[in-house]
Amino acid sequence: QTTITLGAAQTSAGSLPIVVADQKGLFAAEGLKYERLDFKGGAPAAQALASGSIDACICAGDHAVHLEEKGLGGKVLVALADTHSYALLSRADAPATSLADLKGKKIGITSAGSLTDTTLRYALKAAGLDPDKDVQLIAVGRAGPQRAALQAGVIDAGMFTTPDIQITLAEPGAYKIVEDFRKLPYPAQDLVVTDTWLKAHPAEAAKLQRAVVKALEMIKADKAVLQAAVVSMFPKITDPVLIDSITNDVAAGYLSGTGVMTPESFKTLMEMMAAADPKLKPVGYADIMIGAAK
């Protein structure tokens, strides 16, 4: 048995297929054991990946592109999500109903340069706003600080992901969604590896890929599988209603069914990244996506 060390960008829904693979014995069937480490964001996880401290990271497709572009050979081993994972929430009594209404307001992002940052910049531009002049993007942190900042009124809207969206919306009449990016095709969670690792561990890579893709297929086939994973992944959430809503949201097209990045999501990815950094060297789909397991 070989142990695979995976780094997760956050304790987020993207890790659910991995949990399923573990729960259903798919890793064991491949002769793998896995250990998951949580990082404070995608960037440190990607850095740990590049340094060889972990075998693969569960993070946004952005990091595969960054690593590839920096010559470190980033590859998406399995695409875990087909759509974006964030939604922009505001207090229920806020007048804004769309991104465009937030002109002149303060919007909370998790941290500068993160997925939430680039996403908002891209969406704001699409809505005809200048992200540097028409709004203030404030690095606030994750769900806790975001919610505190909303409550204190120091930001007008903030970026939340699963399960924080569901938990926050569960408070009756307090918060609402201003803009839901979860419908946007985007490789929000991928199993990313490096060329170096791939070259050194071709067998493990194949096993890992097979197990996770199998898990994705099982989830698609049976929602109960996902529910069990949700319960295990978020032990702090005990309310069955909440568990249901998380499971339903995740099951509703968020997770990838095949483990292969869709061309649409790759297109948004490249557009967003180019918008954030005009000097970015373009990367092709085939440069970062490894074909599905045979």
Binding site: K40, P44, A45, S53, A143
Partner: protein, 267 residues
């Protein structure tokens, strides 16, 4: 002011008083803590939103569950190990460096800016380098705690050595005492108060360092528990972790006080 009648041991009763005084102190401490907890409980129930502050009773229940499941010990031991090793390593490395730099002022002046610059670096931002150099195991967290604390020892010991009575050093020089004799018999005993202060300061920073290390990448430890609870908006979880961290800091401080009383008998 009259509290510090440290110089009034002129009556027989004081030896007796010491033995009894242990329990009033502990009582006062516990009473104070209890009062704060009560305030918190009441405040959370009435004044402010318990979503942000949780409540002592909820936390107690959570801690009980964690203890029962065994997770509490795993996380606590992990963090304790990281912070403790970092703190001790910092003392072992920092004290000699502090002494050496204080005794070689030219070298100290040369290295000083770089050292202070390094010290001022936010450790969180150095995460990639820590991962690169020290991996993501125990060692990288120990190093995180270490790099927070080692400068405390260096800076405090350096300043401490400057306050040493020059007559003691002159005495040693006239008796041609060797380098090690001076270090062991004069410098170290003289900077004991500075070392103790460093330990007190260091405890908190080592814990913070360990927690920051756990944020960078881990799957256990109190920092990880706090962060993962925060990620699920579980305030009770956050505060449970924080309370355990506080208890660790308190206990470490008590230990330092105990060692101080054992070591500094001459004051």
């Amino acid at each position: 002011m009259t509290d510090t009648a440290s110089t009034s041991p002129g009556y027989v009763a004081s030896a007796r008083r010491r033995l009894v005084s242990i329990s009033p102190t502990a009582l006062a401490q516990l009473g104070f803590i209890a009062a704060l907890l009560l305030l918190w409980e009441l405040g959370a129930r009435t004044l402010f939103n318990p979503f942000w502050s949780s409540r002592p009773t909820l936390i107690a229940v959570r801690l009980w569950e964690l203890a029962a499941s065994g997770d509490l010990w795993v996380h606590t031991l992990t963090t304790l190990q990281e912070a403790g090793a970092g703190l001790l390593l910092a003392a072992l490395v920092g004290i000699p460096i502090g002494i050496a730099l204080a005794r070689a002022p030219k070298v100290a002046r040369t290295v000083d800016p770089v050292m202070m610059g390094l010290y001022g670096l936010p450790r969180v931002a150095l995460a990639p380098l820590f991962i690169l150099w020290f991996g993501i195991g125990l060692f990288s967290k120990v190093m995180m705690a270490f790099t927070m604390v080692v400068f405390i020892f260096i800076l405090n010991v350096m300043e401490g050595i400057r306050t040493i009575d020059p007559d003691h050093l002159d005495l040693m020089r006239t008796m041609r005492a060797g380098r090690f004799y001076v270090v062991w018999r004069v410098l170290l005993p003289a900077v004991v108060p500075w070392i103790l202060a460093s330990f007190r300061i260091g405890v908190g920073l080592a814990l913070i360092g360990a927690v920051v290390g756990e944020l960078i990448g881990s799957n256990r430890g109190l920092g990880w528990y706090v962060e993962s609870s925060g990620g699920q908006l579980d305030t009770t979880g956050v505060f449970s972790g924080l309370i355990v961290l506080m208890v660790l800091a308190m206990l470490a401080n008590q230990l330092i006080g105990y060692v101080e009383r054992k070591v500094v008998t001459w004051r």
